[in-house]
């Protein structure tokens, strides 16, 4: 049962449109109901080979030796891949954004840091033969101590999970072992609060569990290119990753996808394309590499667990004066996308509420479990669970109806948010009012009268007079790239990059010149339609750095087309 409440914000909309707003039938629905929608595995190749991985039974172990001789001799086995076969066997996904240090092998060769980590890949005529050969690979393990709890992992003396980050914490901005938020002075506000409400919230990992498991099929294509049918959620991101790991110019890859059996965030990690293409390169035959359901559940990267501590200082009338967060993201054995998720979650704090004092330390922590990745609501779902459960406790502490408490503290147009940007286009109050009305819950008069368009700004729109800063968590001697690095290049207006065929220049390895000019706070960053003309971007310095060879950054080059 759904209703569209057109009366809300009607003056901000011109509803007289031609095709927008219509319940037009999905373009892909006929394919879905006839079973003809072309998912990655719905392509037939003569002589298709099948790939299965040999996986670590240990949480943490050094690899002394991998003996593949017996497996090599098994019936139907065409080739056995190990780390040695991977041209560049070290990568981190966000290196394409120049963020983070390459920390994860495609096929582990020196050590394994989570149960299920792949150390070899069998390529055979049938999947059954590949599975049989996997059991014949002998690995000489040296089991190491492991750590699975985020707070234990960052205590001195804990086992080092990821060799790149010795303290089991990702390093932000080449300076801190966590991402900070400092806004106002929470300790001063706690001192004058009538109530202090504290809570600890814990998420466990969950699986994206798309009904179609992750996979790719790669095959040689004419003029020494490779076609790759893939279940990826990010075609060029996967293509760029494969180009880097296989040190191959990106235009020799022809990726085809676009029809995916559910992604939910679990199909960005680009593990399958490089292995499938490597198989096609080394055997000259089409190769399929896909997870079975058990692998999707226990080896496929889940939504990572998060642990949040929240402390609120609340006035007697329910106004929240201060909110302090400590967050631990369980990134698992490698970084993948978790470093980005933490910045996104910090930008989300303290939730859709105007709170004058906010303090946060959020850590990206490494533990000996399957590395985490994105999932629906990446970086936000976990902290929203914590915030809204906490708000319920605050409501009880001040004996207030939970919905009244939300409306009282809700952000309004013109308010200053903790990431120091003005709140615009708000609608939290109206949503609360509609639900209260439908559920028959009587609100206070002030709540019923409230609006996102009124009573915002003014005093609530100003930056805090004083913000308590600190150097807690400083780290030296490690540089994790220039992504979103503050360079102090103030003064240039925020603008769009307009020129068609724009190729994002590869960031120079030294000097960290930003690929983009940063948006100045408060500038009207975008007009109603995006077509404001701007001057072309500076040509990027040649990529002399050794960080990446052959990998493409964001360009499309035409080639042989195959449907």
């Amino acid at each position: 049962m759904i209703e569209f409440r057109k009366e809300f914000f009607a003056d901000e909309r011109d509803d007289n449109l031609n095709e927008i707003g219509k319940p037009t039938r999905r373009q892909d629905i006929l394919g879905h109901v006839t079973g003809r929608s072309p998912f990655f595995d719905d392509h037939l190749f003569d002589g298709l080979l099948h790939i299965r991985c040999v996986r670590s039974p240990h949480h943490h172990a050094r690899i002394r030796r991998i003996d593949t001789a017996e497996a090599q001799a098994m019936p139907g086995v065409v080739r056995v891949l190990t780390g040695r076969d991977v041209p560049r066997n070290l990568n981190t996904l966000l290196s394409l954004l120049d963020f983070g240090i390459d920390d994860e092998p495609l096929l582990a060769d020196s050590k394994v840091a989570y149960k299920g980590e792949p150390v070899a890949a069998i390529i055979a005529e049938t999947e059954a033969q590949a599975r049989a050969a996997v059991t014949k690979v002998r690995v000489d393990w040296e089991v190491r101590p492991h750590v699975l709890d985020v707070e234990e992992a960052i205590r001195p003396g804990a086992p080092v999970v990821c060799e790149v980050y010795k303290t089991n914490k990702f390093i932000y901005h080449g300076k801190y072992d966590h991402q900070k938020m400092r806004y106002g002075d929470v300790e001063a506000a706690f001192a004058r609060a009538d109530h202090i409400v504290e809570g600890r919230y814990q998420m466990s990992p969950i699986e994206q569990a798309p009904i179609e498991t992750c996979g790719a099929i790669a095959a040689p294509e004419t003029n020494d290119r490779y076609v790759c049918y893939t279940s990826t959620q990010a075609l060029f991101f996967s293509l760029g990753t494969a180009a880097k790991v296989l040190t191959t110019p990106s235009n020799r890859f022809h990726f085809i996808g676009g029809t995916v059996g559910g992604g939910f965030g679990g199909k960005v990690d680009s593990v399958h394309e490089p292995i499938a293409i490597l198989g096609a390169m080394l055997t000259g035959r089409p190769c399929k590499f896909a997870w079975d359901r058990e692998e999707e559940m226990q080896v496929g990267a889940p939504r990572g667990a998060e642990r949040w501590y929240i402390k609120d200082g609340v006035a007697r009338d329910g106004r929240i004066l201060a909110r302090k967060f400590t967050g631990y993201f369980d990134s698992g054995a490698y970084t993948r996308l978790s470093s980005y998720a933490i910045i996104k979650s910090v930008g989300h704090l303290p939730g859709p509420y105007t709170i004058p004092n906010v303090h946060a330390d959020v850590y990206c922590v490494y533990t000996n479990r399957t590395p985490a990745t994105a999932m629906r609501g990446f970086g936000i779902t976990g902290v929203d669970f914590a915030i809204e459960a906490h708000m319920d406790k605050v409501a009880e502490a001040v004996a207030m109806n939970p919905i009244d408490l939300r409306i009282l503290n809700a952000y309004r147009d013109g308010d200053m948010k903790a990431h120091r940007r003005e709140a615009k286009n708000c609608a939290l109050i109206e949503c609360c009012q509609v639900v209260a009305d439908k559920a028959g819950i009587a609100l206070q008069a002030a709540s019923r009268a409230a609006s996102s368009l009124r009573d915002g700004g003014g005093e609530r729109g100003r930056l805090p007079a004083h913000t308590a800063l600190d150097q807690h968590g400083v780290v030296t001697g490690i540089d994790t790239g220039g992504y979103a690095r503050k360079t102090g290049a103030q003064g240039r207006p925020a603008r769009h990059i307009e020129m068609p065929g724009y190729t994002m220049p590869t960031a120079a390895s030294a000097g960290r010149a930003p690929a983009q000019s940063p948006a100045r706070p408060g500038a009207a960053s975008t007009a109603a339609s995006p077509s404001t003309a701007t001057e072309p971007p500076r040509p990027a310095p040649a990529d002399g750095g050794n960080r990446r060879q052959g990998a493409m950054r964001f360009s499309a080059i035409s080639g042989l087309r195959r449907r």
Partner: protein, 158 residues
């Protein structure tokens, strides 16, 4: 390894393919005869994406030995439409937006068809039971249940 020829009727027409020992029906249908409508979701009999009908009864193709369908009738989603006309269930799924990614849809349609063939006027509870062997991760089931009820009502009038 000695392969076994398997001759069976697929969506009304006789087909043949060679089955490797221990190969399941899902692989035979997809790689053997090229019917790509049943999908792999788990290979464990728990998701229903590979649901097909064998002699009119729903089965999980991934848990069915390929050789066991020799001489039997296998029906898949690819065979639902006939003479260019979509099956009422296919129409209903389209009208009620009962698919998002579409990966579970072929299996859902076969389970729904088996229900309507047996019980043309199902209650909501009958529909819920009929699709209880088919997992959908996108829709939250409500539109699928509604589509099957819409198709049942449609058949009543037709």
């Amino acid at each position: 390894m000695a392969k076994t020829p398997v001759v069976f009727v697929l969506n009304g027409s006789e087909r043949a393919a060679f089955a490797a020992p221990g190969q399941n029906l899902l692989e035979l249908l997809r790689r053997g005869v090229g019917d790509l409508s049943p999908k792999y979701g788990c290979g464990q009999g728990t998701c229903g994406a590979c649901t097909v009908a064998i002699d009119g009864e729903t089965h999980l193709a991934c848990l069915t030995l390929a050789e066991s369908v020799a001489g039997r009738r296998v029906d898949t989603a690819a065979g639902l439409a006939s003479g260019g006309q979509l099956h009422p269930l296919q129409d209903a799924f389209m009208q009620t937006f009962a698919a998002q990614c579409g990966y579970c849809t072929p299996g859902m349609l076969i389970s729904a068809k088996a229900l309507l063939d047996r019980n043309p006027t199902p209650t909501r509870e009958d529909v819920v039971e009929a699709i209880s062997g088919n997992i959908c991760r996108c829709t939250g089931y409500e539109p699928i249940i509604e589509a099957i009820l819409v198709a049942a009502r449609g058949r009543e009038r037709a």
